[in-house]
């Protein structure tokens, strides 16, 4: 059971912090120019954070397929990344990933 005070403290701090992050550049957009260098630094943020979330999530997942050493989620995420790279289509990528995982784990 999550303690009430603990929960609300997390939610309050996370809510305020997240809003400040979202507001950061918008708030000062008419005060100073965002240079190309700023933009370049910002452009690395998703690449620096998202793989650190996703890769361990799929890498350490214990699956059922012996021939993939239980790493079918890792295998499918690599395929889905390729689909996303070539199609640039969100719907296609997510559907492809879910369907491929289903087929792999239930039919083969």
């Amino acid at each position: 059971m999550i303690d009430n005070v603990y929960f609300w403290s997390v939610v309050a701090l996370l809510a305020i912090g997240t809003l400040l992050i979202r507001f950061s550049v918008i708030a000062f957009s008419n005060r100073f120019e965002i240079t190309d260098r700023h933009r370049e630094v910002f452009s690395y943020i998703p690449a620096a954070i998202i793989p650190a979330i996703v890769v361990p999530m799929v890498f350490f997942h214990k699956g059922n397929l012996d021939w993939l050493a239980g790493k079918e989620r890792l295998f499918v995420v690599v395929l889905a990344a390729a689909v996303c790279w070539f199609t640039r289509n969100m719907l296609a990528t997510i559907v492809f990933g879910l369907v491929t995982l289903y087929l792999l784990t239930h039919i083969f």
Binding site: M1, I2, Y6, F7, S9, V10, V11, A12, L13, L14, A15, G17, T18, L19, I21, R22, F23, V25, I26, S29, N30, I34, R39, V41, F42, S43, Y44, I45, P46, A47, A48, I49, I50, P51, A52, I53, V54, V55, P56, M57, V58, F59, F60, V76, V77, A80, A81, C84, R88, N89, M90, L91, I94, V95, G97, L98, L101, Y102, T105, H106
Partner: protein, 223 residues
């Protein structure tokens, strides 16, 4: 809009299920959803809270996950430049991965800034409705898909969809690879600070690469 929603709905269902399984009431879950309004960080925070991780680490992890909103804030700022503080604050609150994706996909179609803002708020409201409803559905019906469908797999997939389009240069790709490797290496760090450390190291790699690329450019220029 539709392709974006397909990412939101399973994600919301997973979030609702996680909140329910963590023993949160629908009241707690909904307030968290409305106040924080950032699924990935909420999912991580709920997970860490069930492990009773220290307050500071839970909040810091959630905020690091949400640092990507700086990029979205920068991308959106030209549209909100002349708007009032209320509009600015509301548009900031509504910034999500999906609204960013929708805006950058439709950038060419806007006739003026007012047009863009109207489109933005319209799409954000649709997104918010889909999000809140799918979290509620997840909360009450658990994983409402057939049991053998691994709906939770939609979470890593939706992250893949977010990161791939940002890997425009070899430097971005290198940073992404480093981030993934750091994520694995630092997973077992004490206090669950693995993600924090991995993200900061990957960002350091990015700054280093920028500097190196800048140096080689100036060396070439001097010749």
């Amino acid at each position: 809009m539709l392709p974006v929603m397909t990412g939101v709905i399973p994600f919301g269902a997973v979030m609702g299920t996680a909140a329910h399984e963590a023993g949160l009431s629908v009241w707690h879950s909904t307030w968290m959803n409305v106040l924080v309004f950032a699924g990935a960080s909420q999912l991580a925070a709920v997970d860490l809270m069930t492990k009773n991780v220290s307050l500071l680490v839970v909040v810091a992890t959630g905020l690091v996950i949400n640092l990507r909103f700086i990029l979205y804030s920068a991308a959106f700022s030209p549209f909100a430049r002349e708007a009032g503080w209320g509009t600015k604050l509301l548009s900031a609150y509504m910034l999500t991965d999906q609204s960013y994706a929708v805006m950058s996909a439709n950038e060419a179609h806007f006739r003026n800034k007012q047009d863009a803002l109207t489109f933005y708020f319209g799409s954000c409201v649709c997104m918010a409705i889909a999000w809140h409803l799918s979290v509620l559905a997840g909360f009450y019906f658990g994983n409402f898909s057939p049991r053998d469908w691994a709906l939770d797999y939609a979470v890593p997939l939706s992250f893949v969809v977010l990161v791939i389009p940002t890997l425009k240069t070899w430097k971005h790709r290198a940073v992404a690879v480093c981030s993934g490797v750091f994520g694995i290496l630092f997973r077992d760090l004490p206090l669950n600070v693995g993600l924090l450390v991995a993200a900061f190291c990957a960002m350091a790699v990015a700054l280093l690469l920028m500097r190196l690329a800048g140096l080689t450019k100036s060396v070439r220029g001097a010749r």
